[in-house]
Symmetry: C2
Subunit: 527 residues, 2 copies
């Protein structure tokens, strides 16, 4: 079965009326890719190591580094060359936690579901304190609480309205939702993680600098006031699923807050209600964290399948490897990393020459602002503020990114380029049984500022950074930055499909007669 399928090796040209190019479609290669992706899959094995064994992978932490070293070995086992951890930076301190215990101990006992916020210290053994409600919305709130927080467990958020779950948490894109992405953009339809349709009004844009300043000012205030532990309920979730990320800062020059944790809102609200009834709830925490100051440099994991006739031209694929700390970084972005590793495995298993070099890059520092990929494109291709192009700039064919969770690929963005759209449409034509149907073309222009994920670091400087449109599944509702970002919330069939599609796109790009079309090179950024 296996041999006969591989032996087919059909090469089909698919002419499409009125289009500018007719792309060669090698159905034999596609068949091999699908066979490897679905009948010989290793993608969940990759994911097992990245999540169950080495997760969570906060940037620069020992876990992140161990996962990276495991990937180096795995890529080398597939015959990749020049596999290495490529430094970038400086990033700052890394951080990992080794114990979280929290409990309500008075007026009654309950263990608390939660975890420490990144870059916050531990408690140096078990500590117990009375709770106080002191929601901090801005620096103006500090005056209200001055002198009142010493030795207290400080609840720094307003109580949360917990609603019943009247909609299914998991969602696959409907045909209508997919079609909507191809239309002229309508802000009322935007938003939502992982391509989820927006529910409710569009989110208020966050001023990242203002958010970081409030964080630092809050850290200093809480620390100066002698708060014992600061508590919130993260950004989303309930029912034991807690979404949360940083509390402190990786920057060694930033102030260090007291220990900070996020807990499930049902537990948070209980403490608030006890306070509102004039009671004096007490909480115990026992938290161990380590802030690693010895290695301030970040790193990306990079490796190559050298090209044959055009080895100086490069097709890249990847996603970020770093994660937040609540779960094991399974869907953000163990899946994208595992899919890229699996696509590489599939490509090497084909034993088919590819003219261009295929390079996998698994970024660090994505969660702190696409740092790994931004440094990478600056070092290799061009700084955005000068746009002084390196020789490599002309040779970077494309970068394919996967970072929207576990969901299968339902489409791909052509970065607003009609020529690319027509090529991609021919590539996905034979993928109907994989349920990827749509190329988003000229009506969705590429973002001119990096944001969201690493492909935008490429498109920001005019390179071809492509992102796949994925089924959101439970990404926004359950796993994205939560303690439930775990292996069991990954859908095996979906990541198998992702690896097949990604391998197919990379193969076609690496063997195509010409490099893919580009958008105009942007002017230097003025800000």
């Amino acid at each position: 079965m296996k041999r006969s399928l591989i032996a087919l090796g059909l090469l089909v040209a698919m002419p499409l009326a009125g289009q500018q190019s007719s792309e060669p479609i090698d159905l034999g290669v596609l068949n091999q890719i699908k066979w490897q992706a679905f009948n010989n899959s290793q993608v969940m094995e990759h994911l097992f190591y990245l999540s169950d064994v080495y997760g969570p992978r906060v940037n620069g932490s020992p876990n992140h580094r161990a996962a990276a070293e495991w990937i180096v070995k795995r890529l080398e086992s597939y015959g990749l060359k020049n596999v290495h951890l490529e430094p970038w930076g400086p990033f700052g301190n890394s951080w990992q936690y080794r114990k979280f215990y929290g409990a309500l101990v008075e007026p009654n006992y309950a263990p608390l579901i939660g975890f420490p916020l990144a870059w916050t210290p531990g408690t140096n053994g078990p500590v117990t304190g009375e709770a106080i409600l002191a929601p901090i919305h801005s620096q103006a709130d500090f005056a209200k609480y001055k002198g009142k927080l010493k030795g207290k467990v400080v609840l720094i958020a307003d109580p949360k309205v917990v609603a019943m779950h009247t909609e299914a948490e998991a969602h696959r894109l409907t045909d209508e939702e997919i079609a909507a992405r191809t239309r002229v953009p309508d802000p009322s339809r935007m938003g939502g993680f992982g391509g989820a349709p927006a529910r409710g009004p569009a989110p208020v844009p966050v001023d990242r600098n203002a958010a970081l300043k409030l964080r630092n000012d809050t850290s200093k205030f809480l620390s100066d006031e002698g708060a014992l532990v600061a508590v919130n309920y993260g950004t989303n979730g309930d029912g034991g699923t807690v979404f949360a990320t940083w509390g402190g800062s990786q920057d060694p020059n930033d102030p260090v807050p007291p220990p900070m944790v996020a807990i499930t809102p049902e537990h948070y609200n209980r403490v608030v209600r006890l306070l509102q009834h004039g009671m004096t709830p007490k909480l115990t925490f026992d938290i161990e964290t380590t802030t690693y100051k010895d290695n301030q440099m970040g790193f990306n994991v990079v490796g190559e399948i050298p090209g044959t006739s055009k080895s100086d031209e490069v097709v890249m694929l990847g996603g970020h490897l770093d994660s937040w700390q609540g779960g094991t970084g399974a869907t953000d972005n163990g899946t994208g990393s595992s899919v890229a590793i699996e696509a590489i495995r599939i490509l090497t298993s084909l034993h088919k020459p590819m003219a261009r070099t295929v390079r996998i890059a698994l970024w660090g520092g994505e969660e702190e602002g696409l740092l790994g990929s931004k440094f990478y494109v600056q070092q290799h291709f061009a700084p955005r503020n000068t746009m002084k192009l390196t020789p490599e700039y002309a040779k970077l064919d494309a970068y394919y990114n996967d970072d929207s969770g576990s969901g299968r690929f339902r489409g791909i963005s052509a970065n607003g380029n009609l020529l690319t759209k027509e090529i991609f449409e021919q590539w996905i034509a034979p993928l109907k049984d994989l349920e990827i149907t749509t190329v988003i073309g000229a009506t969705a222009p590429p973002t001119r500022e990096p944001g969201g994920t690493d492909s935008t670091s490429f498109s920001w400087i005019g390179l071809n950074g492509y992102g796949f449109m994925q089924d959101p599944l439970e990404y926004g509702t359950r796993t994205h930055h939560s303690n439930m970002d775990l292996y069991d919330r990954v859908q095996q069939g979906d990541v198998m499909q992702g690896a097949a599609v990604e391998a197919w796109f990379v193969y076609n790009t690496a063997t195509r007669a010409e490099m893919l079309p580009r958008n105009p090179t942007p002017e230097p950024a003025t800000k």
Copy 2:
């Protein structure tokens, strides 16, 4: 506003063609009830104390007792008489936990979401052991694991298939679902907690005796083998919501297992996968539990609004007060208890004489098999096996029970009695804005064996035990016996409605010219 509403005092007879009775409907009283229930509600305050302050309330535990004593004071503050804890029993040991800490510590750190199983011991300080997978389905499995469990953290369940949540967790009954309850019973439509429609095949009936024997044999086996801690993932749930109840037994003569815990299946499965890859995951637990052997008797909380002209005739209302340990017993059955307390408050606030005595009973031991209500009906009315009737038997008019979670009342069962159905239909006719629409009549005969909840302890001996049909909301999917059975998962509007409806039914029953019709008194039970 308040005075003018109360002053209305309309008394309307609602003749219905072709029916045997025409029930007087006092719209003035109904108006007062609704005003109290919605504009002066205390139901969430009751619930706050029962759940946030005194929960969880495992039967006979200090928490259960403290909640009961709080209720006694509250009922006395409403002017109730003869308020007391009425003993029944013996029940056995009571139990409470005071610390739960669990973590995966090798190959990597992760705090575990879970809690100890009831009547299992603590660890006597932190303990760490290697995991071993040893699923126990029956006593036949013991031989496989003999000699292999000493000092180990034993995973006693098969790994769980964790699925995406493709259906909404919260559900309100549709008109069609409600209508289906009124039709001739169809086993394919039965089942589901809290009146939820069955999804999938009907559940396999559990042989309770066999389950208890397997529990006891497993306890002895694990203890004899020197297992350090036994772990499963409970009966339902994921995403940090863990459904679990007992591990040991309240019977002081039953064997004591090692410490036992339930954890979220994502965490459980992670350990299993590590084992399946030949790794040696280690887990740490630090669990403190107390088994109380000093008071083996159970108790119900009972109190009365004495009747006027027919004070020897009794209308009862209530629900069980005891709970499981994972959450705070908010929806099982803090809501039913709070609704009954609130109905009592509303009734006392009317300052309207009621001919019959109104008696609230908040049962203990429901979770262990309706023990409190079964003992109560045996002591007060008749032992089922002899059916030797006490004088009280003839004087018990009705018992109204609320024990299906937070959902509003959408209907009531007339216990298969057509005469009752016609009375209840007149009582609910003016409640259209409360969305209770349906009386389930002669096509749904009363259960002849007690089960499910405490109203069946009454109907089992031929007394009028009535249960309300409630919207399931998140009862089966989120809260019933889980660590998320918490205050925030209660829907305030729904429990307000429940209190209004329950007060209205109790008022009408207590002031009606005649007692409600009964079904034929059953013969003594032969088993």
